[in-house]
């Protein structure tokens, strides 16, 4: 609507991640690297997906099942990529630990691992926000705004910013849960993340119905709260379980 509104939408979508970035991640260059590489990975996955689906787009149908198919394939692909990311990270961790032993410095601590997972998740989340929300915000800096019929009470930019915020949070923290689940071999955690991703994606399908976003978005936020809560519980448990590895400085 104006520059003010444009900046407002941008901050709405990536404000929390920005503050997370500045406070936690910008202090360690390796985390910045992790954020960048996970963003790149997410972008590549998006490009591959769009390449796959290019032949069928633009979809003219108003039914919901082609979109459901798109969602399903995309989410499956991205979860597979998360697994790959984990494998890469495992190898990196081994290299780092070996190097640390060689120069007689301490190995990677628990908080370090959690931080790296957080950085990876943040990269994914920021990529989502940038590509799904912010890159479409360019008209919002101008003098007008845009409404979608499906959700005609609030401007399109606002809706997409709100949804992006929810997804950023979900991505960021589900990476922490996922890494922890893989590390501990905890099946519940391992399954939790893809399921949450799928559920969140399907929630947005609800938006497809007219006026559906009134139901869809609060449900999405419910899922986000669930993720946050679960992550918090898990981290708390890990940190208090082995007090001798606890480090109080980040």
């Amino acid at each position: 609507m104006t520059i003010t509104a444009g900046i407002g939408y941008t901050l709405l979508a990536i404000g929390p991640s920005l503050s997370l970035f500045i406070s936690v991640i910008s202090k360690k260059p390796f985390l910045i690297l992790t954020v960048l590489s996970s963003t790149l990975l997410w972008l590549i996955s998006l490009i591959v997906l769009s390449g796959l689906w290019r032949a069928f787009l633009p979809l003219k149908s108003t039914t919901w099942w082609p979109y459901a198919l798109i969602l399903l394939t995309s989410i499956a692909f991205q979860e597979a990529l998360r697994l790959l990311f984990w494998r890469l990270y495992k190898r990196l961790e081994d290299i780092l630990d070996a190097f640390a032993d060689k120069i007689a410095k301490p190995r990677l601590l628990l908080t370090d691992k959690l931080l790296i997972a957080l950085a990876g998740g943040l990269g994914h989340g920021v990529a989502h926000a940038v590509f799904f929300c912010i890159s479409l915000l360019t008209p919002a800096f101008g003098p007008a705004t845009y409404f979608v019929e499906k959700c005609s009470k609030i401007p399109f930019f606002l809706v997409s910013a709100i949804i992006a915020l929810a997804f950023v949070t979900i991505h960021t923290f589900s990476m922490v849960i996922a890494f922890n689940g893989y590390a501990e071999g905890n099946k519940v955690d391992q399954l939790f993340v893809p399921v949450v991703h799928l559920v969140a994606g399907m929630m947005t399908l609800v938006n497809f119905a007219s006026g559906g976003c009134v139901i869809g978005i609060p449900l999405l936020y419910l899922v986000m709260m669930l993720t946050l809560f679960h992550c918090g519980k898990m981290v708390w448990r890990r940190l208090t379980d082995n007090p001798n590895r606890l480090v109080n400085s980040l």
């Binding site: 910008s26 202090k27 260059p29 690297l33 998006l46 769009s50």
Partner: protein, 413 residues
């Protein structure tokens, strides 16, 4: 990074105000002036011809530069650089300022404008060539020069720009790696004589590691360099050589004022790789959170060819380059071409900008890693430009429709 953003916003600014197509006749369009009604093949042929002409001119000029350097006419080179910087800042800066004044209707009169512009240009030349100024000023001016040159490049017709970028990347590859390449000759001459290469180099803020008094500085003798070269249109020729280790994130990381294990680079020693170094050593009392010094340090060890660790106290002072205050140095030419890439992407849509931006950073990372493995002069352009162009095409053709489709139906994942 910052400058790319500025450039993009300026560009957007003027593309909206420039409805008439400004055809700049320069060396780059000598062979062919593109008009949008030509067919695909015509455009491609024309663009190829243009780029060939451009690369040819750049090659010739680089050889002349090498010759001059060989004949030890360094004074002349320095004056020439100063002169070209002045012209860039003065004329190009003036034109850009005129555009901006027109766009924003700023009330300013001729005489004030001229005086201000002249002062600006003079201070710029001084800042760039006498490195005793406040580092922010020097950095700022280098950024401005880069932005201006890149901005003017975007006036070229679209196909020409893309093909030119690819051609420059290939030329870069050839000029540095082939034994007969001019830049390799230049670099070897400079090494063998232990002399300064007159060049436009961006010097990041010197980083001193306050915590570890025990860890001295580690300096490596950089025997390789990344070459940055910028050819230009008929009015200017900025030939920039630079030393390796471009670190796009230097500003970001430096500003965070981290307590990361920084390696003090003295002289030319660029120990960049804040990107890759992840050492955080807090030699504080008691609680130390120490993360493992990462891959970079291993590379440092490799480079040195010694088995000692980062905390070695080797302080070899190398008198090359402009960084007498011991800082990380980056070259300007590469920045310019990256900015051209991103600027062109901005003329289409912002999504391409983000994609290209990520691609360039990834390319930089890859180049740095290659540097550490190969340990000799490597061109910085090819990897990033190729990745950037690739991502631009992919995003424009594939990604955008996908995302717009999904977002308009409020479907996200």
């Amino acid at each position: 990074m910052f400058m790319v953003v500025i450039l993009v916003s300026i560009l957007d600014n003027s593309t909206s105000s420039d409805s008439s197509s400004v055809q700049v006749t320069s060396i780059a369009t000598i062979a062919y002036t593109e008009s949008s009604s030509d067919s695909f093949w015509e455009k491609l042929k024309g663009a190829l011809l243009n780029s060939l002409a451009f690369v040819a001119v750049v090659t010739v000029v680089t050889f002349i530069l090498v010759l001059l350097f060989y004949l030890r006419c360094t004074k002349f080179l320095k004056y020439y650089m100063g002169f070209s910087a002045f012209v860039v800042l003065g004329f190009m800066g003036g034109e850009v300022a005129l555009f901006l004044i027109e766009k924003f209707s700023i009330p300013i009169d001729c005489i004030t404008f001229l005086v201000v512009l002249f002062n600006f240009a003079t201070v710029g030349v001084l800042a760039v060539f006498m490195s005793k100024m406040a580092i922010l000023v020097t950095q700022g001016y280098l950024v401005v020069i880069g932005v201006l040159v890149a901005y003017w490049f975007t006036f070229l017709p679209e196909w020409t720009t893309w093909v030119l970028l690819v051609a420059m990347a290939l030329y870069d590859l050839a000029a540095v790696l082939l034994p007969v390449g001019p830049l390799r000759l230049l670099v070897e001459l400079a090494i063998s004589r232990d002399e300064d290469i007159p060049a436009l180099v961006y010097e990041a803020r010197p980083v001193i590691n306050h915590d570890s008094a025990s860890r001295g500085g580690v300096v490596q003798r950089r025997v390789w360099r990344e070459r940055r070269n910028v050819g230009n249109d008929s009015t200017n020729n900025l030939n920039n050589e630079s030393n390796s280790n471009s670190n796009v994130n230097a500003n970001l990381v430096l500003e965070s004022n981290s307590t990361c294990g920084t390696l003090l680079s003295a002289g030319t020693g660029q120990i960049d790789t804040r990107l890759i170094i992840a050492e955080e050593v807090r030699n504080l009392d008691g609680d130390a959170e120490v993360t493992v010094p990462l891959i970079q340090d291993r590379m440092n060890v490799q480079l040195q060819g010694q088995e000692e660790v980062v905390s070695s106290e080797n302080l070899m002072l190398e008198g090359m380059g402009l960084g007498s205050s011991g800082a990380i140095k980056l070259g300007l030419g590469d920045f310019i071409f990256y900015s051209v890439l991103v600027g062109r992407a901005a003329m289409y849509d912002y999504m391409t900008v983000y994609a290209c931006y990520l691609a360039i950073i990834a390319g930089l990372g890859v180049t740095l890693m290659l540097l550490a493995f190969c340990q000799k002069a490597l061109p910085a352009l090819p990897v990033s430009i190729m990745l950037g162009v690739l991502f631009y095409l992919l995003t424009r053709l594939l990604l955008e429709i996908f995302i717009v489709q999904c977002s308009l139906n409020l479907l996200m994942f």
